[in-house]
């Protein structure tokens, strides 16, 4: 009798536990889930074809991926969302202007731009890092204002100093007066420099993705055999295995059908580079440096006491982010094919941060998966919302305003919730 009762009680607790874990999953991922629903509804309302959206999405994720990934390292190091990636984007643009000035083109021009942007981004990162070390606890507002300030300096250089203090003569990219750079530059010379190196159809890319998952699984399996600390659970093997199988099945059937998705061409090298950045971040996180980042992220004082050079490590984190942002902006520009000299960098921080947050990241926690998921969701919303606005309310502008509101709103919400939790925590501690 009593055994029955305990059994019943055990199953009761098990059930409540299961409900609790579902609840936790929902509340932890509420933003992402809401966005997935929003994207789906927007897609249905917009009346756009799947092929159109996938095509646009491949383009957009390809050109924004690196910029979004650039945000992860500072989050690990407890510096919050790095609004100063705007400076990194500026470093990229400086390089593009130089490359266009000298008339280099194609992949050579792109590589030259990467080479030029790196030292500039290193310098910006070093400066910003020092500034942020003087404003601990207020990093985000400081990095945001730094972005605005740098924008003023950038305008000063490229509207006033070029052609007066900096000797430069090039009527093609400069204003008629000979001072300052034109508002929009045609950078057709390096358009698709990386994207067009090699392209495959979308189903082929998905197939390659499934092979990639299998390879990764194989690597994990091999690692678990030689390293006792890495253990594989049934779930961690089965989930990717099923996903890879489904992806392979879908791509092979689509390849042999007349689906329009066969027309979507995926830029291979761009996505390989995004993959390389992901690997780089994973690698950094596993080193001593990555350990230091996380220690600092958890508690500044403990990090200091345990002998980590906090200031230096923080500068390294922000500099890495800056260089990635510079390269990210280069990938962005080579895809767009035009440089909006004085505005291209302004939206970078906001859009990248909104995308990261939509993926489920927060001010203190961000993963690669969240960055990639966020990129897909945010840009789906970007593609569908004007069309959905037109269909629903007869005004495409409303859809555009809506997506701008979403970008601002999700950042405000996330900052607010984080600050709320932090304030509640410190209240508990003080009690």
């Amino acid at each position: 009798m009593s055994k029955q009762i305990t059994n019943a009680a055990a199953s009761q607790t098990r059930r409540t536990k299961a409900i609790q874990s579902i609840k936790n999953f929902l509340s932890d991922n509420i933003v992402t889930i809401m966005f997935a629903i929003l994207c789906y509804v927007g897609f249905k309302l917009s009346g756009l074809s799947l092929m159109f959206i996938v095509n646009d999405l491949v383009n957009r994720v390809g050109r924004n991926g690196v910029l979004i990934l650039a945000l992860i390292i500072p989050v690990l190091a407890g510096m919050g969302l790095n609004f100063a990636i705007v400076l990194g984007a500026m470093a990229g643009q400086v390089a593009v202007i130089i490359v266009i000035h000298y008339g280099w083109s194609g992949i050579i021009g792109f590589l030259a731009a990467m080479a030029i942007s790196t030292p500039v981004a290193l310098l910006f990162g070093w400066l910003t890092g020092h500034l942020l070390n003087r404003t601990k606890g207020q990093e985000m507002i400081t990095s945001m204002i730094t972005g605005f300030f740098a924008n003023g300096v950038y305008q000063l250089v490229f509207l006033v100093l070029v052609g007066t203090v900096i000797p430069m003569v090039n009527p093609e990219i400069m204003l008629p007066s000979g001072i300052g750079i034109k508002n929009t530059l045609d950078i057709g010379r390096i358009k698709y420099a990386v994207d067009n190196l090699s392209r495959v159809t979308f189903p082929t890319a998905v197939l390659a993705g499934s092979v990639g998952i299998l390879l990764y699984l194989g690597y994990r399996f091999w690692k678990s055999r030689i390293d006792g600390r890495v253990t594989l659970t049934v779930v961690s093997v089965l989930t990717p295995l099923i996903a890879a199988g489904a992806m392979a099945f879908w791509s092979i059937t689509t390849m042999n059908s007349k689906s329009m998705l066969n027309m979507v061409r995926v830029p291979v090298v761009t996505f390989l580079f995004i993959g390389a950045v992901c690997l780089f971040i994973t690698f950094i996180a596993s080193t001593k440096l990555g350990q230091d980042f996380r220690t600092i992220g958890q508690d500044l004082h403990i990090a200091q006491v345990s002998g980590i050079n906090v200031n230096k490590t923080r500068i390294i984190a922000i500099t890495m982010s800056m260089v990635l942002a510079a390269w990210g902006q280069l990938f962005f520009l080579q895809n767009v094919g035009a440089l909006n000299t004085f505005a291209a960098h302004e939206q970078v921080g906001r859009f990248a941060i909104a995308a990261l947050l939509i993926g489920g990241a927060s001010v203190s926690k961000a993963t690669i998966g969240q960055a990639l998921l966020g990129a897909v969701l945010f840009h789906t919303l970007f593609v569908v919302s004007p069309a959905a606005g037109r269909q629903l309310l007869g005004d495409a502008q409303l859809g555009e305003f809506f997506r701008a509101f979403v970008a601002y709103g999700v950042i405000a919400l996330s900052l607010g919730m984080h600050a709320w939790q932090k304030a509640a925590e410190s209240k508990r501690k003080n009690r």
Binding site: R134, Q138, V153, Q155, V160, A404, A412, G416, W420
Partner: protein, 346 residues
């Protein structure tokens, strides 16, 4: 000697010293270049009256311990709604201006209470949250400007949906304050109406800060622990500070717009907060300390510099938007400097 100079600079504040010297330098340059100076001074005074109240909005927020109120656009939006509604009611002249305030202020009080409540939840990160609350409010109102049921054709696009990007208020409330008590001496003019309006709100804030509530609010801002120990309701006084700041933002945009002659809707209100913050910091305020003299000095210096640098820059340089560049660099540079002084670094 050098020590003495350093002490003087410290007591005067580094940003204020730099901006003042720069201002004097540009003024001398203007005189040297033969730019007629009296109209410039008139412009500076007008700009002081135009922007003063929005800068004044920083004082209650800083003193209540919220810090620099980057969420000023919230109040600005309330003010804009007030003015649009007054035009919709087909009022002109002073009645339209007063009606704007009558509508805007209660709206700002409601928004301010909500805003203050939110800021109480995020103690320690107020500035960042406030900035993005302001941004989101502005972008939400972008949708609002399209959907709100205004019908007056002065406000709406002639075809299509929604309100104009800039609404011309000529013949409505344009220059109601500027032309009241306007004194013209040669090429120099001054409008008593505008300055009196600013003085009135300054006086109101000054009186409030000396009232029992005001003193309590200052105590809360100065030290939260001390305020709690002496039995003050910290959250309540912070809400009062935020509300007052929002109301001043709403009144401020009304004074600004009547002088400017246009209502700027959509993305325009987004960055009003930054200009106001920069001005009060230039005046010598810090993230924790501010008073009305900081507001007056700061607004005059900041706006004065912008007024003078425009013709000077145009004479020296051809091309390039020098005034805009000056504004961006100075305002954000000053804010950055203030942020580095908050914790002092380690």
């Amino acid at each position: 000697m050098l020590e003495k100079l350093k002490g003087l600079v410290d007591s005067f504040g580094l940003p204020r010293t730099i901006i003042t010297s720069f201002f004097v330098f540009v003024c001398l340059l203007a005189v040297f270049l033969g730019i007629p100076f009296l109209p410039l001074i008139s412009d500076m005074v007008v700009r002081l009256g135009m922007n003063g109240i929005m800068v004044l909005a920083m004082v209650p927020a800083i003193l209540a311990g919220i810090g620099l109120n980057f969420g000023l656009p919230l109040g600005v939006l309330c003010g804009l709604i007030g003015m649009l509604t007054a035009i919709e009611m087909n009022l002109t002249g002073f009645p339209s201006f007063w009606m704007s305030l009558v509508i805007a202020i209660p709206l700002a009080v409601v928004c301010g209470i909500g805003y203050g409540w939110l800021l109480n939840k995020v103690k320690g990160s107020e500035m960042m949250v406030a900035t993005y609350v302001g941004f989101s409010a502005v972008s939400l109102m972008n949708i609002g400007w399209i959907l709100l049921p205004y019908t007056n054709l002065e406000l709406k696009w002639p075809i299509g949906q929604g309100l104009r990007t800039t609404v011309n208020i000529e013949g409505r409330m344009k220059w109601v304050l500027n032309s009241w008590g306007r004194i013209q001496i040669g090429s120099f003019h001054i409008s008593l109406g505008l300055l009196l309006f600013l003085a009135f709100w300054c006086l109101l804030v000054w009186l409030f800060l000396r009232s029992k509530t005001g003193l309590a609010m200052k105590a809360v801002g100065a030290s939260r622990q001390f305020a709690v120990a002496s039995g003050l309701n910290v959250d309540k006084y912070r809400i009062i500070g935020a509300t007052l700041s929002t109301v001043l933002g709403a009144v401020g945009i009304a004074a600004y717009a009547q002088s400017f002659g246009f209502l700027q809707l959509y993305d325009a209100p987004m960055f009003y907060g930054f200009g106001a913050v920069a001005a009060v910091l230039i005046g010598g305020a810090t993230v924790r300390r501010a008073n009305i003299s900081h507001v007056i000095i700061g607004t005059f210096l900041f706006q004065g510099l912008l007024v003078v640098s425009l013709p000077v820059a145009n004479l020296i340089m051809t091309g390039g938007n020098m005034a805009e560049i000056t504004r961006i660099t100075i305002s954000n540079g000053v804010i950055l400097y203030a942020l580095t002084q908050v914790s002092g670094g380690q």
